[in-house]
Symmetry: C2
């Protein structure tokens, strides 16, 4: 509502968010997808019946009302509707969420909990994140493609695969569209996709989901540095877009806008894995060259930067077989991670891909996979192979960081993780 | 390439599409994601070695070249590059697709077949279809949401479900996001999602996939007619967008543009199921009131219309439990299908949803489901229920129709159907 409607008749439909009855007047706060407005229902204008009904009505009942919009400094938002008509559409008795419930109870009632302020505002931010991410690719000439979710083989090994009974065979849920995107660069050159990806993570952490949204990109003729530039421009564009379009949501969630503004200007700093290890050792972290960086190590590193930053050139043993090795030092893989600051850690993982048939075959064997499972993927190196690179961005991790959430489950309306499939 | 580049030095990277060597000159057609251009490689300028290499080189080798762009009426596109430098990046020997292969062989080599003209142009059309579809919702104030793929229960019964081993439980791949979108209208009112959906269809047909892209929408306060208007505006907007942006692709695929122009103006005609049965009976089709409309019946009906058209008010027995019954005749469900003309048939299915708790419970029991499996879905009718409607659009069916394909498998790069999981 705004000043231009003051003094005019307006109609609102929504759900009861708060209500109190004082004397012959009910003060009802009605929420809809745009916000909350106070409605005053006076028995003199709307009749005694409705005011009596409102005295006992449960929260979350759905209602329709019309009346004059007036300025009201004491009401939330500064306006109220003085109803001359008020109707209950759908009753509500004992709405199961009253406040103070434990997390498992709230997750069991997620289909109702998603009406909450926090989750609603977060979903609006996610809407912008998805929109801005796609916009970046479309406006820069990348083709959107639709890779499969049901696949015959794994990208990153079998431990975290979900098996599916697929007619008379077993298939697996995709962990990444990467291999398929690689096949598609031979006709479309620069491709991207937005799909769900699945990881059967056994541990429950604040930053893992079993099902998450994955924005992936792959480009022919791009080397690692080209691809890192795409990654940082993409993230900066998304943060900028959210700052422009979701200021209100960010404020409701208590996010510090000044900190976010720091993130809209690429380039982001780059350090090599070697340097990351040095930093960690100086900070007293017990880590050696060759160890993988876990959530704890990432958190320590993020404290050194006030922007997202890249870590590059990892030991090949801790990275996937498909990464190209550094021609200057074949112990290293040309991979990069982009870490979000403020303790959030990895949001993007990418690399230059091995484009030589024999080297790729060796890496597959070296890492203990069966080349037969990668037959078609190897083919891509037999018929006009090209240098190429790509990355994947975890949408919920990005939303978690931008919205300042402390748990990834709130970046998706119906989270999936070990033990959680309902609702 | 265009006139403004004529006489200037240009560089091109791509894959060899055709080549012939005459005397000391190689004529190489190089394709990239934008098209095909002829390159003349003269041994006087580029050396004898490269011309000898090009004599024996396999199709689909990747190359880089630079040279002067000249007008050449005999070359495809009207230009050619007179190379002064030409380099092979990735060789190719015996590219497995030479033309004339059978469909199963081509599907086994889908990772290479997707480089074909037909599939490449179709993917570009799909890119536009997805973009325009999302644009419609975003510009009309609908919120994008991310419903889950892994679910505990079925929307439309268990026969076509894919079971997934989900930690120590069994989950199912989503057939539709509808139930989750319904939960989300209580905070965001108008929501949409674009996800994969899965149906374990046992029969192989020209219009079914086991995995397909599903654009779904759901809105609070919308009745069936409101929702049909959204559906027809959406489809008209997408066709219009493709006509504006993909004329070249449509021409390459041999699509009749004049026919497509017929489809950009809503409203689309509406008939009731009763009328559809009458039309079919008059045409001599052996069908009775109460029978479902299959692909054959749909094909006959599409011949009566030169636009997409709606069929509404179906017998409740052939429609899902969640559809609201027609208050004027409770034998009928307030469901609608949108059928594409030219024999294509159903591309959208939608309905007004039952919003009364007791009626919904009865319908669940009547259709033989267990109310316990729909506990959270029933809850949505207990706490502030509202009238609402929604629909789902099958992206590949829409692409198939717009692009004029004769099989749905070509509307997706890696099709999934019974017997097909590789590559």
């Amino acid at each position: 509502m705004s000043n231009s409607f003051v003094g005019r008749k307006v109609c609102v439909r929504g759900w009861i968010y708060r209500r109190s009855v004082v004397g012959g007047k009910a003060f009802v706060r009605v929420r809809d997808s745009t916000g909350v407005i106070q409605v005053v229902v006076d028995k003199k204008k709307c009749g005694e019946d409705i005011v009596r009904t409102l005295k006992d009505i449960g929260l979350e009942a759905s209602v329709k009302t019309c009346g004059e919009l007036v300025k009201q400094p004491r009401a939330p938002g500064g306006y109220e509707i003085q109803a001359d008509w008020f109707k209950v559409v759908g009753y509500s008795r004992d709405f199961p969420i009253k406040g103070g419930e434990g997390i498992d109870y709230l997750l069991d009632n997620r289909h109702l909990w998603i009406r909450s302020r926090k989750l609603t505002e977060t979903m609006k931010i996610k809407h912008s994140v998805l929109r801005a991410g796609r916009e970046y690719f479309i406006e820069n000439g990348w083709w959107e493609v639709t890779p499969p979710i049901l696949t015959a083989s794994a990208v990153e090994g079998g431990a975290t695969l979900f098996p599916v009974k697929y007619f008379d065979k077993t298939a697996y849920l995709s962990q990444s569209a990467q291999l398929y995107l690689e096949a598609l660069i031979y006709s479309l050159e620069k491709v991207w996709s937005l799909t769900t990806s699945f990881r059967a993570e056994k541990s429950r952490t604040r930053r893992h989901l079993a099902e998450y949204w994955h924005l992936e990109a792959e480009a022919a003729w791009y080397n690692m540095e080209d691809m890192m530039r795409v990654a940082e421009e993409l993230v900066a564009h998304i943060v900028q877009y959210v700052l422009e379009h979701n200021r209100r949501q960010l404020e409701i969630l208590g996010r510090n806008l000044e900190i976010l503004k720091n993130y809209v200007e690429p380039p982001y700093p780059r350090i090599r894995y070697d340097e990351a290890i040095e930093i960690l050792q100086k900070k007293g972290v017990n880590i050696e060259w060759g160890d993988d960086l876990g959530a704890d190590e990432e958190r320590v590193l993020t404290m050194e930067f006030d922007k997202p930053f890249f870590i590059t050139h990892f030991p090949k043993e801790i990275k996937s077989f498909y990464m190209k090795l550094d021609p200057e030092n074949e112990k290293l893989a040309l991979g990069f991670d982009l870490l979000a600051p403020e303790g959030y850690g990895e949001i993007i993982g990418g690399s230059e891909r091995e484009d030589d048939y024999n080297k790729l075959l060796n890496r597959i064997i070296e890492q203990g996979y069966n080349p037969e499972d990668y037959k078609w993927y190897l083919d891509l190196r037999k018929y006009g192979s090209v240098p190429h690179s790509g990355f994947g961005l975890g949408i919920e991790r990005l939303v978690m960081w931008i919205a300042g959430l402390d748990h990834i489950r709130d970046a998706i309306p119906f989270p999936r993780f070990r033990g959680r499939i309902y609702p």
